[in-house]
Symmetry: C2
Subunit: 209 residues, 2 copies
């Protein structure tokens, strides 16, 4: 094991450091964020920072980096207050990664990257081939003053999912759904079978479900 | 595909709903958080919400739920300002899950759950068997007013890692390190080989690294 001190990190070349530090937290929750501008222009962008915030109300967040291609997404969310998350499958991981390129505002990443678009009842775009789709309503956003990133908080309004993928305790088998896990800024990986355990109690050993 | 409306979610039994909603964001970043009380009592607790916030300065967050067993952890972090993250490996996934039980304050989860403890140079406890360890310094915390959860923001001070697991672009091969991915509140999974792509540009197809 090598010990990296904070000063060692500062000496790294900036893209190398970004890849390195981005990998450290663990596997990342990938989602393709579908939005629409006030003129009706669809937009799709990849995030790797979806995060569960609460089950009741059902809240999900993601980290918005200002000054990146994702800014169209955030502007659209602030305008329409409604957006979708589509999971990333192995079959379209290349197309999903390509949505992170800096396309001009008038370009739909669905078309530019070759992902077929579908629409929710309320007219918001999502990835037709996705096996888990959510529609969210913006609740609020919090600026993280240390670096200007923004935690965007949304409430889940609708979920599209084949319910054969739900275990009997309510957990969704996202491995069987085909969702990929993200690693750093460049990595994608399939995930093996899920092992599950019951609620842990101090005086009892954990039981496999 | 079944369409679940928000009203369907409200009708679910509360633990089932928690498992269900917790699974939707995607794979989760598991970390065992090592802390010490002001009296020097070590504490270890499992989180599934580690999140990258920035590379320069190197910032990482996690979501703190008030009124849970993790509260000792958060109290310790507020007191000492220093804490560690240890990754979760297949060999000790049962022990890691067991740390989520509500042990009394005076109990060390290292001992109670059977995980050997090691200490950083500054005396903070971590899991000796871990293959990726970070030491973090508390920078700030943000309350999410929608449900009272807290985003805890720390700056990475030190990293323990065998550098043979770093790809040449800086990405860390956390699959090869043996890190598990979390699913909902009960699930753990191994992750396959990582496929990597270069920086995406609008007029060029993504290239495999």
């Amino acid at each position: 094991m090598r010990l990296f001190h904070k000063n060692d990190l500062l000496k790294l070349e900036s893209r190398y450091r970004a890849n390195f530090i981005n990998s450290l937290c663990g596997f990342k929750a990938l989602q393709l964020v579908g939005t629409k501008s006030s003129e009706g222009q669809p937009n799709l962008s990849l995030i790797n920072s979806a995060i569960h915030l609460g089950a009741n109300p059902p809240l999900m967040g993601y980290i918005q980096r200002p000054h990146t291609v994702e800014k169209h997404t955030f502007e659209n969310i602030l305008t329409t207050k409604i957006y979708t998350f589509s999971n990333v499958l192995n079959e379209y991981k290349v197309e999903a990664h390509q949505t992170s390129a800096k396309y001009p505002r008038e370009v739909s990443e669905f078309e530019a990257c070759g992902l077929e678009m579908a629409m929710t009842e309320s007219g918001m775009p999502y990835v037709k081939a996705a096996s888990l789709v959510m529609e969210l309503e913006l609740k609020s956003h919090y600026e993280i003053k240390e670096n200007g990133t923004i935690l965007v908080v949304g409430e889940i309004q609708n979920i599209l999912l084949d319910d054969k993928f739900i275990f009997d305790d309510g957990t969704v088998n996202i491995s069987a759904l085909g969702s990929l896990a993200g690693v750093g800024l460049t990595g994608y990986a399939k995930v093996d079978e899920i092992v599950r355990y019951g609620y842990a109690k101090p005086n009892e050993k954990v039981k496999k479900l």
